[in-house]
Each structure stands twice: as C-alpha cells, then as structure tokens.
C-alpha cells in the first residue's frame, strides 16, 4: 500500500507535474513567481488547500453525487465546495492562527479560482474512483499535487530572480522571456516522463 501511495505522489510531483506537464494553474504560476519568498508562500497555501479540497470533494462525490446518479454535476459541485472551503479556511486562520493568515496573505482567497485545485478534485475521481483505498489516495494525491506546484513555482521564481539582473535583449524583456523560461522548464520536466512505474 505504501509503495502504491509513493507511486501516486512521485507521479503527481514529477511525472505529471500539475503546472509544467498538465498546464493547470498557470495564472498563479506566472503571476506570483517574481520572488522566491512569495512563490513559496503561495505554494504552501496551495498544498494546504489541495489536501482539504481532495478530502472534501471525495466525500461529496462518494456520498452525494454517486448515490443520486448526478455525477455530471461534478464541476459545479466541486467549484462550490472549493470556494466554500477556501472561505472557511480563511476565516478559521484569521481567528485561530493569525500569523499563518498574515503570511499567506492575499494568496489564500486567490486559490479559490485556481484551476489546479479543481483539477486535483476531478483527477481524484477519474483516476481512483471506486477503489476502497481512494480516500487516502485522494489526500496523498492532493498533497503531492500541491508539492509539485510548489516545486515548479519555486524553481521558476528562482530563475526569474536571476533574470532580473541579467542582460536581456530589448524585444524579450518582461513577459516574453518569462514565457520562454516557463517553456524550457516544462521541457525539462518532460524528462521525468521516462520514470514509468507500470
């Protein structure tokens, strides 16, 4: 079982990295990757929300959508769950752990509209739906997806920090060079697709 979970987590972090291979959550990836510090803050927030969202959406799927045969409402139901969850977590943190709330800052509400979170929720169902271990698997998958996101955004932020002080041709300055960098990073991650466990 542990080896199975390990395969899931390595798969989500490296082989099917959410940002660099599946191209989910590109907007925070480009938006908040100017500094390693803010990037890691965003990453931690995403890990946290993805774990909670995986657990909750699994419950919603298993005990609401499947028994009533309305799996086609998945997307709407999951968006609802994620939005509520993020709101709730924000309130909870503000009251109970203000220091964490302050350090996550604006990233927490931003995650509500992060498609990577919805991607995790839907992948959970399509990949592991129906098996008996799927609740634990869902949580492991969610956490690993978050870690993969963190890895990608922190790596990218590191490169962008170096780009700041380098001599870039005029026509590549700003967004162009950022997109080229993202593409190169994505190609680099393509190398992990050789790591197959099947």
């Amino acid at each position: 079982m542990i080896s199975e979970l390990l395969i899931i987590s390595v798969g989500a972090i490296l082989i099917n990295n959410f940002v660099l291979v599946q191209f989910l959550g590109i907007c925070p990836f480009l938006g908040v990757s100017k500094k390693v510090e803010t990037a890691s803050g965003m990453g931690i927030a995403v890990v946290f929300v993805m774990i909670c969202a995986s657990a909750l959406t699994w419950v919603v799927q298993e005990y609401l959508l499947v028994p009533f045969g309305i799996e086609y409402m998945q997307t709407i139901a999951f968006i609802l769950v994620i939005a509520v969850l993020v709101q709730f977590v924000e309130m909870f943190l503000q009251k109970s752990i203000p220091s964490l709330y302050n350090s996550l800052g604006v990233y927490l509400p931003l995650i509500t509209t992060n498609c990577a979170v919805l991607g995790v929720a839907i992948n959970n169902i399509t990949k592991f739906g129906g098996t008996e271990m799927s609740f634990v698997k869902s949580i492991v998958y969610g956490g690993s997806a978050g870690l993969g996101f963190t890895l990608a955004i922190v790596l990218f932020a590191g490169v962008r920090e170096r780009l700041e002080s380098s001599d870039i041709p005029e026509f590549l300055k700003g967004m162009p060079v950022v997109l080229v960098t993202a593409a190169l990073l994505s190609i680099a991650f393509l190398g992990f697709s050789g790591l197959s466990f099947n």
Partner: protein, 263 residues
C-alpha cells in the same frame, strides 16, 4: 421531472447548507477589525511616503487605532489631516510645527573650490566614494541630485550645482535627508526663514580655503543675535529655529555670507 429536480435539490441544498455554515462561521470566527481604520485611510493622503515613520499609510492607520501614536505625524497632510484623524479617533488635535527640508550648503561651483574634475556616473553616492566628490570641502553638496530622485513630491531640484528645496511643495518626509551621502539636508521647522547654509566642521582657516561662503565659526552672528538663538559648535554656527524671530541681523552681519534667507 425527477431528473431535473434531484440535481437542483442536491446542488441547491449544498449551496444553502454551505451558505448557512459560512454565515455561522463568520459569526464564530469574527475578528474584530476596527471600523475606524478604513475611515482614517480615506483621510490620509495615500502617498505611502513613510514620512510618519511607519511602513505606509495603512500601517500608520492601524497604529493610530491601536493607540499610543499621535494623529499629527503625517507630514503630507499636515494640520488638516491631523484634525480629521483626531475627529475620527475622538481626541484633541495637537498643532504640529510645520517642518521643511533645508539644504545646508550654498557652495556652487563659483564659490566652492574644486578638487578635481569628476567624470563618473551622475550620482551623488558614486561621486562621494571617489575622494569625497569633486569639491575641496568634504561637506559640500555634490549636486548630482540623488535627493531629487527620491523626492516623491517634486519639491527638490538642483540649481547651479546645489540642491534647492521648494518650501511650498516640501512635506518634510525626510527621504532626501536619508538619501544624501553628505548628510547636509536637515528637516527643520519652517518657522525660521534664516538658515546657516554650511555644515563644515573644519577649522575656520580650512573652510575659508575650501569655500567662499562657508561658516568659519567666527561667532559674530551669535554675538549679534538679539534673542541668543545662535550658538557656535564644532566651528559651525547653528540657529535654534524655535528662538529665531526672523529679524535678519545675523545674515547682514555674517562676513562669509553663510546665512541665507529661504522662504
């Protein structure tokens, strides 16, 4: 019919339950945020200059509400803003002395002796590192306008090789004083119009050699001041702005013409 009703009921029900939960949570986890903070933020100029000593306008507003901070610290808004803040906070406004930045150098290239010709980057910090700049006097204005670059209010300019402050625009935030590598900009009360435009602490003989308008610490101004507002310390005269009555006797008596009237 049930094909439509069931999803509506389930998803709608989820929405209602979540809504109620969130509503309850917002009551349970309610954090007291002071409603006076946004009000104060509205009154503050929003320049985020840091002149009050806090990280920005919102930091100052938070500090005001939590107490122990005076409402008259915003140099940009001045008395008008202080009054409004006091109104919001319900405390008496205190008159704050209007402050202004003064440049303590008047040594333009004709008056100050040049040591060498500086040819490097047009920046005071760079010039200051190269033998203290091109002026003989180690306390002279370098005139490359590092202060101009940091002023958010366009109140400082370089005229004839020396920085000049526009008193009407200056809000005394102190950014220029911090930036100046020679530390010859001081934030002083605007009340006193007369300033000793020299900061040379060298002996009189050396100051006289370096600059035509340097304070040589002779003390004539101090002797002639009817209010005793001037003292000579470390070979340079200093006016106490609180005692000064702007009579102008010191400026007329100064043999070096180192005391100048600034509006």
């Amino acid at each position: 019919m049930s094909q439509i009703l069931i999803p509506i009921l389930i998803v709608g029900g989820m929405g209602i339950i979540f809504g109620v939960l969130l509503g309850a949570a917002s009551k349970i986890f309610a954090v007291k945020t002071d409603e006076r903070v946004p009000k104060i933020l509205e009154v503050l100029p929003g320049a985020n200059c840091g002149g009050c000593g806090f990280a920005g306008c919102s930091a100052y507003a938070n500090a005001l509400v939590s107490g122990g901070v005076k409402p008259n610290m915003c140099p940009v808004g001045g008395a008008a803003v202080a009054e409004k803040i006091s109104e919001i906070l319900g405390v008496e406004a205190e008159e704050k002395e209007k402050m202004v930045a003064r440049v303590l150098c008047n040594g333009n290239p004709e008056r100050a002796v040049q040591k060498y010709e500086y040819d490097g980057p047009r920046d005071c910090h760079s010039a200051a590192r190269l033998g203290g700049g091109e002026k003989m006097c180690p306390h002279g204005c370098l005139g490359f306008g590092s202060c101009v670059a940091v002023c958010k209010f366009g109140a400082i300019s370089v005229a004839d090789g020396v920085a000049v402050v526009d008193v009407n625009k200056c809000v005394a935030c102190g950014a220029c004083a911090l930036e100046c590598p020679k530390k010859i900009i001081k934030i002083l009360p605007a009340k006193s119009k007369y300033t000793i435009t020299c900061k040379s602490v060298e002996k009189g003989k050396i100051t006289r050699r370096d600059c035509k308008v340097g304070c040589i610490g002779c003390g004539i101004c101090a002797k002639n001041c009817p209010k005793g507002a001037i003292v000579v310390k470390d070979n340079v005269a200093v006016i106490d702005p609180m005692k000064c009555v702007n009579c102008g006797i010191c400026a007329s008596k100064c043999p070096q013409k180192a005391i100048n009237k600034v509006e």
